[in-house]
Symmetry: C2
Subunit: 412 residues, 2 copies
């Protein structure tokens, strides 16, 4: 029988009633003839509670023990989901990561899945079991210790199972009903996308769209797993939610499919840096060592051997960046007149695979912002993305204007 | 290095502060030179919470899933305890049942430990680890599923580890400071015993003394594991608590060492039963099949082919007993005029290995009760125990009078 993977996040299994609701949805797919692998998160709030207990116990914890503690929330949900399915007369059992086994690296709290031998679960399907309920987020290291994949890791578990079992699809049930062209809280014309390409989803995820964990999208792209994002709180039709899939499976696409934004960016400018070959490395090396995630970089035209260097980083890393640069200056590695941090900025990005084949997207974006009187402070582009840093007060205006300009309210 | 097993119950690990307190005690034993195996229960209240979730989900649950869910509480405590010890610079790690492995039967929720191969933990001790923290109450079945040993099973886990590792002693840390001659809430002369024999502890445990799980005492007796019961809430000296040990290790002993009581007994009388060979089997067979735990049995002298048959059972099984007997009567298997249940009784027992060598104990017990005007309804005796059923209103009086009569306030 064809295999379907269904993943339910923490809010979808927050109570025994919600677990029952999710189980009913599983029952519908079983009735269609699928053998189903259900991946569950911990009940909403449980993982935070366990993380809190570890924090109270040991500020600088042993990640192996951390993993042993925090993985227990998923085990509880897996057992409860299996019991609920059994109550509905659906043959089901639970599996903890080590029972499958989900083999991972030894990088505790941030482990990567290396292999999921399908034999044990496949044998149970052959015996008539219809649903394997698997505790998400966890695995087992080569040393036999419990590992976890990092927060949001259950998405990655789901995609990895879909790949290992050659599943027809991987349905991610969550508290939103799909992927939107932009945040509906900011732009009331935001439209749910029927389909979105892996590459676009990856850009949106790394720009802060919280729908899917970035690693899970990477994995889905590599193994060409069809991912569907849909709500566990609404009645579902067969084409509900958003399908994240390969570019080839999207017949028509707008040139831009999403407008993303981030409030948590700061713009930092080193004024009048003594310009010389290797100066970029001298600046960004110490920042990287200090753990500062530099995103956009712009260097002004150099005059008389001096230049201004501007970059963006998360606002909560500004102090760390200032310290690292000050120390580099004191060591004599770099020389600058002043360092100015502007935390009143926001990043707005347009994402679309259509940019590859269609020119003029950047020009239209800049003209749109200019028409609205929004000054662009920094620009960065990739093959399928254009990002700008602007004053934060214009952020909502910019998102709405770009959504209109690229006609995102209309499907292709 | 010699091995010591230390077990901490739910109230002793109820918060991270209490876990720290327990860990300090472990540190003291490590400093003495012991390699320590710590067995932990779930944090107080956690197991009940998990049992509640299973109950909400599935009234007639699959015991395999029940075990997978309820065992998670111990895993959390094990990780937190290992982290706490590491914070104190004591080399420690946690082990879940399947990691040791604690091999059990497949009788889910009431599994028995079959084998604990010591190799994995011994190898870590050899590498310099000083404390193995093991999640109590759980194991793994031959099928690779998680099992639990039944409520209170962590005591049994502790004794089984002590046997498997040939430990010098098994210390059970709990919320009382030892085993008492009787319940101090009922008798203010109750005295903590320095030592008690396995057989006596076994009788007291099965009579309802909640200090130790009966199975753990049986196991300790079989493998001659020295068990010490002591409080985790008081500063400890080397001779704190009560040592449960073989009879040979107790130099002097009172003839009676404990007075136990139970409020939850009912007396049931079948009036005017047609007496014939095999009548006892015809009565107690159906009761056993109905799951009624019959304790004391008395048959009156038979007159004219008819007799009265009296037995005791837990009060919450009275309805079940009545139904089973009524059905046996309807089938024609037994014949009686009436069935009378008396739920206003209590059982009081005197326990002591001294009874084996000293006669007159029963006589002294009956005389004492008679002097207090307490009527005895049923008597049952074993080699080291005499139990009587009396009116419940006399229970406290009887316990106090017997405690005085056998001079339990004075040590031997």
């Amino acid at each position: 029988m064809p295999v379907l993977v269904m993943k339910f996040g923490g809010t979808s299994v927050a109570t025994t009633d919600r677990i029952r609701r999710a189980a009913k949805r599983v029952g519908v797919e079983v009735a269609k003839g699928y053998d189903v692998i259900v991946i569950v998160s911990a009940m909403s709030g449980e993982t935070n509670k366990l993380v809190g207990l570890v924090g109270e116990t040991s500020p600088l914890y042993d990640a192996r023990e951390y993993d042993a503690v925090v993985s227990s929330g998923e085990n509880v949900t897996a057992g409860l989901m299996a019991l609920t399915l059994q109550e509905m007369d659906v043959p089901a059992r639970s599996w903890q990561g080590w029972q499958v086994p989900v083999k991972t690296t030894s990088a505790h709290s941030a482990a990567r899945i290396e292999d999921i031998p399908p034999d044990n679960i496949t044998a149970k399907f052959a015996e008539g079991m219809r649903v394997a309920v698997v505790a998400g987020f966890q695995g087992i290291s080569p040393e036999g210790r419990i590992t976890t994949l990092g927060r949001g890791g259950s998405d990655t578990t789901a995609v990895a199972f879909a790949a290992a079992f050659d599943a027809e699809r991987c349905d991610i049930y969550t508290d939103v009903d799909g992927v939107y062209t932009t945040d509906p809280r900011i732009c009331d014309k935001a439209r749910r996308l029927d389909r979105i390409a892996f590459e676009e989803m990856l850009e949106l995820a790394s720009l802060g769209a919280k729908v899917l964990q970035t690693r899970s999208v990477e994995l889905a792209m590599r193994y060409n797993v069809k991912l569907r994002v849909l709500s566990s709180f609404e009645e579902q039709s067969d084409d509900a939610g958003t399908l994240v899939c390969a570019e080839e499976e999207i017949m028509e696409s707008n040139v831009v499919n999403g407008i993303a934004y981030s409030r948590d960016e700061a713009k930092m400018t080193l004024i009048s840096v003594a310009d010389r070959p290797g100066i970029a490395a001298a600046i960004f090396g110490p920042l990287s060592e200090a753990g500062v995630n530099v995103d956009m970089i712009v260097q002004n035209i150099s005059e008389e051997g001096r230049t201004d260097m501007t970059f963006s980083c998360p606002t909560d890393q500004v102090l760390r960046a200032e310290k690292a640069l000050q120390e580099a200056k004191e060591r004599g590695d770099i020389n600058y007149h002043d360092l100015v941090a502007d935390t009143n900025v926001a990043k707005v990005s347009a994402v679309g695979i259509g940019m590859r084949s269609q020119s003029g997207v950047a020009a239209r974006m800049f003209r749109t912002l200019s028409d609205e009187g929004v000054n662009i402070k920094v620009i960065a582009t990739s093959e399928i993305k254009i990002s700008v840093l602007i004053d934060r007060k214009y952020m909502e205006l910019a998102v709405q204007a770009l959504h209109d300009a690229f006609e995102l309210d209309k499907s292709a």
